[in-house]
Structure formats: C-alpha cells, structure tokens
Symmetry: C2
C-alpha cells in the first residue's frame, strides 16, 4: 500500500490495474475496459470497514492494493481474525457462495484501494468472461485450504507453534525484504496476533519477547521483522 499512497490523489482507472490479475487474465483489452467502466474505485484508510457481517451483500470487491482483514465477533464479544487477503484478490463474493449477506466483516489492515461492482453483475461476469469463474473458485479453494490448516493447527498445536505459523503465513503473503530480515508489510499488534491464534495479547507478547531474546525476530510497535525464518519454521511444527 505504500505505492498507492504515492499514486494518489487522482489515479486513473487504467486497464493495467486488472491486466494480469488471475480472474481477468484471459480477457482482452475491450473486455477489461468494459469491466472497469462498471466499477467504482475507492480508497480506504487503515482500519476502516469495507463491509460488515450480516449486511446485505450489495457489492463485490477486488482489492487492488493494501490488505484486508476478515474478522468476526463471537457471541461473547471477542473478535477473531478469520483471514487476511492480500492485494490482487477478489473479496466480498458472498454471491458466488450462495449467500445474500456478508458472512464476516472486512476491515483494512493498511491503507487500501479497491474496486467494486454491484452484486447483480456477478452472473454476467461469470457468463461473459472466460476464466473468471474458474479462477475465482481457485481462490476460494485456496482459502478453504487455509482455513482447513487453521483448524488443524488450533486442534493440534500449542500456542507458540500457532503464533509461529501465523507470522510465517503473513511473511509469505506480504513479506518485505529489509536489512536484517523480512518484515511484515503492514502494522500488526500483539492483539492482532492473539486474535489470529486464539490466544491472548499477553501470551503473544511473552512469546515474541522470548524469540527476540534468541534473535529469531526483531519487533517494535506494530512491527515484526523475521530475522531467522528457518528457525521459526522449525518452531512452527512443520515436519521435515
């Protein structure tokens, strides 16, 4: 999202925005133009809600730049981070999965830029644009697999391993090379990590402190840099 910041204000709805993104990769210039013409673009500040759980799913979205955090609130009021969505992916596609309302809330984890279309266009997109449907469902499949892995982790692993996994996942999705390691490219708090792992900010803080002492990571306020990915992988409980 650092780039988007520079690109604004008044960026153009340019074809190059969509060209190459999986759901649109098989389309020609004219088709992409068509799709863009029907889109509305919007910038979101860090921490703002794009849509909320339970609301009628009026639109679906393509995240061009930034980072989306999908969250749900438990009956007892605790927030759980269900997943993170990196730039270049569709989200809020309730329609594709037979829902009429959003099943979770989408909040930006960083300043973000997204296109959106009215949900009624979904069927048109599926019918008219080659590869759109297939690629979309690949994404859905990937997300399903990730959630599956989360369930496995929660069922079998200790908190320390789950934190390691959460961090590694973020680093893989969004790691930015920096002197001394790879940094997670958006602000992330101990609280956030606890909401991703089903733990508490206290335990997360203790764990990270421990890792920092041993040189595995280096961290600061809302910032985590992985210095020794290899040892973190070992900790995460992966076999091999």
């Amino acid at each position: 999202m650092r780039n988007a910041k520079r690109a604004r204000p008044h960026f153009r709805l340019d074809e190059s925005l969509l060209t190459g993104l999986p759901p649109f990769s098989k389309l020609d210039s004219r088709q992409i133009r068509e799709i863009l013409d029907q889109a509305s673009a919007r910038r979101y500040d860090e921490g703002s809600a794009v849509f909320e759980e339970g609301r009628s799913a009026e639109r679906f979205f393509m995240l061009l730049d930034g980072y989306i955090r999908v969250v749900r609130i438990s009956p007892s009021g605790e927030q759980v981070i269900v997943m993170h969505i990196p730039g270049g992916q569709l989200f809020g596609i309730a329609k594709a999965l037979g829902h009429t309302t959003y099943p979770a809330t989408a909040v930006t984890a960083a300043e973000s830029l997204a296109l959106s279309w009215p949900t009624r266009l979904w069927d048109t997109f599926v019918a008219q644009y080659e590869g759109f449907s297939t690629e979309t469902y690949k994404t859905v499949g990937t997300r399903l697999g990730e959630m599956n892995n989360r369930i496995m982790e929660m069922a079998t692993q200790q908190v320390e391993q789950r934190i390691a996994n959460a961090i590694l996942r973020l680093v893989n999705q969004t790691g930015r090379k920096v002197e001394g390691g790879i940094e997670i490219d958006f602000p992330i708090t101990r609280q956030d990590l606890s909401e991703m792992t089903g733990s508490t900010l206290h335990t997360v803080s203790r764990t990270l402190s421990g890792w920092e002492k041993h040189g595995l990571i280096s961290s600061g306020r809302k910032r985590i840099t992985v210095c020794d990915p290899h040892r973190l992988v070992l900790l995460s409980g992966a076999t091999g």
Copy 2:
C-alpha cells in the same frame, strides 16, 4: 444408511436417486439418465476410505446414502476430523476448487453408498447442466461457513462448549427421533468427538459423563442420544 442396507443387494441405478438432489434439481429425465449412465456406484463398509489425502483426484462423488467423515493427519500424527458430509451432497470435488489432488481423506462413518464420475467430466457437467455449478458452490459456501464457525469456536470457546456444539451439529444434520430424545444416527466414539473438538477422549468422556448425570444426554458405546437439546444449546454458548 439403514435403508440402504435393506435396499441392497442389487439396487438399480434409478433416476429417482438423483432427482431432487440440489445439484441436479433443474435437470430433466433425459439429462439425469445421461449422468447416471456415466456414473459408477459403489457401496462402502463403515470405516473404509473412499479416497486419501494427497492422491490424484481422479473422480468426484455424490453420497447417496450414509455418512462421510473428512479427516486429516497432523504432522505429529494426530488425526483431526475436519467435517462430516451427510447423504445427498457432492464430495471429493477437488477439481472445482482448482486442486488436482484430494486435500483430505474421506472415510465412511457408516455403511455408505456413493456414485462417482471421472474428474474430466466435471467441466462437462458445469457446462451442460443448468444449476449444477451454482448449487455446487452453494454447498461449498455452506461448508466454508461451517469451517469458519469451527475456527471461531476453537478460538474463543472452552472444551465443554465445543463438544456441545459438535454434538448439536451432528444432531441437526443426522438426528433420528427415538424414545427419550434424538439420537445421532451413526456410530460415534469419544475419540471421534475429541478429534472434532481438538480435545482428548478423556476430557470428552468426563464431560459426557457429567451431562449424563444431569439428564442432558444418554449415551452408550458408540451412541449418543440428546435428551434435552435446549439445555445443551445453552451450554454451547450461543447467545439468545
């Protein structure tokens, strides 16, 4: 599956098998005939594997009768039950989600009957049969939602609540009315429940014993009857 038992041996691949099942509900007699002609049917004993995690996804399946348990093994060798699939649903549809191998193992939780088709027919089905794709993805959406709920539970709830939720889910999917309550309609062990909730068979046993003392459930070897669904719902932590 009790009915299947009676229906065999030598049941016929009759149109009525598929008529009315969501993915085929919009098709006419001829189309269903077409689909059936390409299917192979097979009966599975309780506890047998239909397909295994990691194997090439050669076929996709429709469970006609019985119950499928989707399981994965963690790196440390523990088994986790990811979900249960009731009769009337497609499963093993890796292709639909962009996978070429099965992402988990499917084991029958009871004697079962399933049709299957070669994966290469998937695209044909999607292209030729109205509603097939839409209905399939509705199912996928539902499953995604359920996994989402599992994650929420694991992140925020105590073991007792998770066990209550697991049992309620099974009862809703497959509850059979019986004198004194509603019974889960296939054999289920304490171990199974622990693999569904990320707990241990010891804790599950203790919990069920407690509930039985208070008249919430009545249970036996591989059998659970819910006597007081309402109080179980309260325990499960649902709000309202």
